[in-house]
Symmetry: C2
Subunit: 190 residues, 2 copies
């Protein structure tokens, strides 16, 4: 029981350290210190930094609130907007820092680690797939131009979101988010 | 003369190492080894890794071919497309690796180093400003909807480009670029 709990603390600390510091700048020491655990205890639970990074990515994806996209009860585009507004609030609350862990690993690690690259790709594919389903539903409901390629539009909106987070981390203002919401919901998806 | 030439080799090696490995994964050793210089010689030319990263960013921005955006002789939107096509070819040629150094430093370093963050922000601001000028010219020429907010559209297109590079590094296919070009030039800018 104590062992399971310590694993949970280390896994959660790894997510927080990777998200705030980045992959290379995070040492095993940083993770165990943040978890209040002895350094050697990391390897009781994870075989490598890579393995803990993969679990961090999975835990991070669980917090992306895909449920907002797929829970019925309101128009499809309202759900898409609410999904990104939820994620945008996390950026505001962090002072426009940290960004998206999927994108961060894509930028920092994907070129150098095939396992992490595959996990990043899978996260993006799943995310774009869900956005595509929402857009298909919106198109079906007449909320969107009947000629819109919803799969291309979904990939594009997700790329634009990732780039918005990246630019906002340098800008430290909400201006990149204002552009995203106005352009996506006022121009792209009409 | 020899000294100036060695500085040039180290500065160019720093750009290549930061671009391919990232900031934290690049050591001074990596830079001097790539330049064929003794390790200690780095500090004859740069006071710190940060200083060489700032120069790398400046050298990288010089290669972004802003001249394609501003050189007259063809319609504004053709220039914008040619600019991104040039940058896209660099990604194809690198096997969809390395991405944009401005974005990479934005993702990996901006939260932790105010000087590099300011340089990243300045690069993005300059780039978005030039795209905004091209879009204003296109709007003036009737190539764009008269109601388009060209400054917001410029920031959005630049964010979408940065996100496209990031997703492509995980995807290792041209699909993210296809979505970018179809959506930007077929849907956003019309």
């Amino acid at each position: 029981m104590a062992r399971a709990s310590k694993r949970e603390q280390i896994a959660q600390a790894a997510l927080e350290q990777f998200h705030s510091r980045g992959f290379h700048a995070t040492g095993i020491n940083d993770i165990t210190a943040a978890a209040g655990a002895p350094k050697g205890s990391f390897y009781n639970h994870f075989s490598s930094k890579e393995e803990s990074a993969l679990e961090a990515l999975s835990r991070y994806a669980d917090g992306l609130r895909f449920d907002i996209l797929v829970t019925p009860g309101r128009p499809a585009l309202d759900r898409l907007r609410a999904h990104f507004e939820f994620l945008g609030r996390m950026m505001f609350d962090s002072g426009f820092a940290r960004g998206c862990l999927v994108g961060n690993f894509g930028a920092e690690v994907a070129d150098h680690n095939a396992t992490i690259r595959a996990a990043v790709r899978q996260s993006f594919d799943q995310w774009a797939g869900l956005i595509g389903q929402v857009l298909a539903e919106a198109r079906e409901a007449g909320e969107l131009d009947a000629g819109l390629d919803v799969d291309e539009a979904a990939r594009f909106v997700l790329s634009a979101w990732e780039g918005t987070l990246l630019v906002a981390r340098a800008d430290k203002t909400s201006a990149p988010f204002d552009s995203f919401f106005h352009m996506v919901f006022g121009v792209v998806l009409r």
